[in-house]
C-alpha cells in the first residue's frame, strides 16, 4: 500500500518538477511552524541590548534586529503566525463559501440568484481594500485579520463549488439515485460534494498563498498582527526599513520567507490543478 503511494508520488514528482519543489517547500514550512519552539535558538520576543544588529553568524544564524532579537527564531515563530492565520482563515472562508455554493448550485432558482449577486458584490472589492475596511471597523488583531481574509475567500470558494454542483446535478446517476428515493441532502453529500473536491483542493492551496500575502501586507501596514508578536510582514515594516542600510538582513529574511512560502503554495496548487484536471495535460 505504502509502496504504491510512494511510487505514485515519485512518478508525479518527475512529471511535475515545479510542483514537487512546491510540495517540498510547503512541507518544510509546515514542519518549521509545528516545531518552532524546538528549533528556535532563542526567545523570539526577548530583547538583548548586547547583541543589537548583529550580522548572520554562528550564534545568530540569520542575525539580530535593532532590539537584539534573534531573527531565525522570529522567522520560525512567524511561520506559525503566517500559516496559522492563513490556514484558519482560508478554511473558514472556504467552508462557508463552499456550503453556500453547494446549496446555490444544487437548488438553483432564487437561492442561486442571491448567492451569485452577493458573491459578485464581495468580489467587487479589491482584496486589500475590503480587509482594510474590516480592520478599520473591528480594529487590528489576529482574529480580525482572519475574519477579513475569510470574507475575501468565501465568494471565490462559492463560485468554484457552485459550478461543479451545477454540472453534477444534471448527471444521470444523480437522477437515478433520486428515483430510488435519495433525499436532496443525501445526494448533495454523497454525489455532488465528492465531485467538488478536486477543484476545491486546488483553490484552497492557491488561496493559502494569497492569504499569506494579505496577512503580511496588513501586518506590514501596521494593521495586522500587533507587535511584538513575530509576523513576517510586521518584521518588514518600520525598523526593518529604517535600518536596511546597516542591517539589510532585517528586511531580507522575512521577505524571503514570505516569497518562498507563497511561491511554494502556488507551485503546488498549479501542479495539483494539472494533475486533477485532465484537460490541462499537454497533447
Amino acid at each position: 500500500m505504502d509502496n504504491v503511494v510512494v511510487r505514485w508520488l515519485g512518478r508525479t514528482a518527475r512529471d511535475k518538477p515545479l510542483g514537487a519543489i512546491g510540495g517540498v517547500v510547503v512541507l518544510a514550512l509546515v514542519l518549521i511552524a509545528l516545531l518552532a519552539p524546538l528549533i528556535a535558538t532563542a526567545d523570539p520576543v526577548a530583547q538583548d541590548a548586547d547583541s543589537i544588529l548583529l550580522s548572520p553568524g554562528t550564534d545568530h544564524w540569520l542575525g539580530t534586529d535593532n532590539l537584539g532579537r534573534d531573527l531565525w527564531s522570529r522567522i520560525a515563530h512567524g511561520a506559525r503566525v503566517s500559516l496559522g492565520v492563513g490556514f484558519i482563515s482560508i478554511a473558514i472562508g472556504s467552508v462557508l463559501g463552499g456550503v453556500a455554493g453547494l446549496v446555490g448550485g444544487y437548488y438553483g432558482r432564487w437561492a442561486d440568484g442571491v448567492l451569485q449577486q452577493v458573491s459578485d458584490a464581495l468580489m467587487a472589492f479589491p482584496t486589500l481594500v475590503l480587509a482594510l475596511g474590516i480592520v478599520a471597523i473591528l480594529g487590528a488583531s489576529a482574529t480580525n485579520v482572519i475574519v477579513a481574509i475569510a470574507l475575501v475567500q468565501a465568494p471565490r470558494a462559492a463560485r468554484v463549488v457552485r459550478s461543479q454542483a451545477l454540472a453534477v446535478k444534471s448527471m444521470e446517476y444523480v437522477a437515478a439515485s433520486r428515483l430510488v428515493g435519495a433525499g436532496s441532502v443525501q445526494i448533495m453529500f454523497k454525489h455532488v460534494l465528492p465531485h467538488c473536491l478536486a477543484p476545491f483542493i486546488v483553490i484552497f492551496t492557491n488561496a493559502l498563498g494569497i492569504a499569506i500575502v494579505l496577512e503580511a501586507s496588513l501586518s506590514f501596514l501596521g494593521l495586522g498582527i500587533p507587535a511584538p508578536e513575530p509576523s513576517w510582514g510586521g518584521m518588514l515594516a518600520g525598523p526593518g526599513r529604517d535600518y536596511f542600510n546597516v542591517a539589510p538582513w532585517m528586511a531580507i529574511w522575512p521577505g524571503v520567507a514570505i516569497a518562498l512560502s507563497v511561491y511554494g503554495f502556488n507551485l503546488l496548487g498549479d501542479a495539483l490543478r494539472d494533475v486533477l484536471d485532465p484537460r490541462q495535460r499537454p497533447l
Binding site: L18, Q117, V118, D120, A121, L122, A124, F125, P126, T127, L128, V129, L130, L132, G133, I134, V135, A136, I137, L138, G139, G209, V213, A216, S217, F220, L221, G222, L223, G233, L236, G240, R241, F244, N245, P248, A251, I252, G255, I258, A259, V262, Y263, N266, L267, D270, R279, Q280, P282, L283
Partner: protein
Amino acid sequence: MDMKVYLFRRLLQGVLTLFLVSIVIFVILRVAPGDVADLIITGGDGSSTGATSQEREELRQTLGLDRSLLRQYVEWSWDMATLSWGESLFTGRSVWDDFFRKLPVTLQLSLMGLFIAVALGVPLGVAAALKQDTWMDYLARIFALGGVSLPHFWLATLLLIAGVRYFTWSPPLGYESVIDAPWRNITQFIWPALVLGYSGAGLLSRMTRSAVLEVMRQEYIRTAMAKGLQTRAIMGRHTLRNALLPVITVIGIAFAALVSGSVVLEQVFVLPGVGLFLLEAVKFRDYTVVQPIIVFFAAWVVLVNMTVDVIYTWLNPQVRHG
C-alpha cells in the same frame, strides 16, 4: 441574443452589484461592536475620553443613529452617491476635496502599472503557451509566478536596499504633478509602476497562457493542422485571435488587483494618493474618510468590469451577430 438587450442587461446587473456593494459596506459599518458613536468617542482604541451618556446620545442624534435602519441606509447611500461625503473626523476638512486632489496620483500609478502589465504579461503568456513544456515555458512561468508571489512591499523594499547599498542611488520619493514637473513626475512614478506592473504581468501571463492552451486543444485547430496550414498561419489567425478575447476580461481582473497593490506602494514610495489617504484614515479609524473611499474603490472595479464586458461583447462576433 440581441446585443442591445445584452448590454442593457449587463448595465442593469452592474447597478444591482453596486447596490449590493453599498449594502455590504453599510452592514460592515453596522456590525462594529457598539456603534459609530462609541468609535468616535473612544477614538477607536477603547480608551474612554470621559464622555457622558448624554453626550453620547447627542452624538448619536447628530449622526442619525437613532433613526430606523432603512432610513439610515437611504440617507447614507444618497450621501455617498451625491458625493456629500462630509468632513474628516480628524482634520475637519472636506473628504471630497482631499479625495479629488489625491485621485490623479492613484489613477496615474494604476494606469502606468496596467500598461506595463499588459505589455509584459500578454506576450510572455503567448510565448509560454506556444512553447509549452520547454525551457522557455518554464522560465516564463517561474518569472510570472514570481510576479504573483512576491509581495509588492518586499520588492519595493529590495529596490530601495539594492539602490542605496550597491549604486548609492535611491528612487526619488514624494510627488510632483505631471503638469508642474513632468520629468520628476515620471522618475517618481516609474519604480512603483514597475513593481505594480510586474505583479500584474504575472497574473496576465498565467491567464494568457492557459487561454492560448485551451484554444490550441480545440477541434478547429486540429482541422487547420490536418489541412496542412503553416503553423504561423494557425497561430496568428486561428489561435491568438480566439485566445486573446478572454484575456480582455482578465485585464479587468488585473486592474482590480492593481488597486490593492497601489495602496501598499503609495505607502512605500510616499505618493500622496487615495490609497495612502485610506491607510491613514484606517489607522486613525477616521470612518467618515474610510467609507466613501471603500465605496469608490468597489464602484471603480464594478465599472471597469462592466466596461470590459461591453468591449468583449463588441469584439466577439459570436455575440455581435447574435
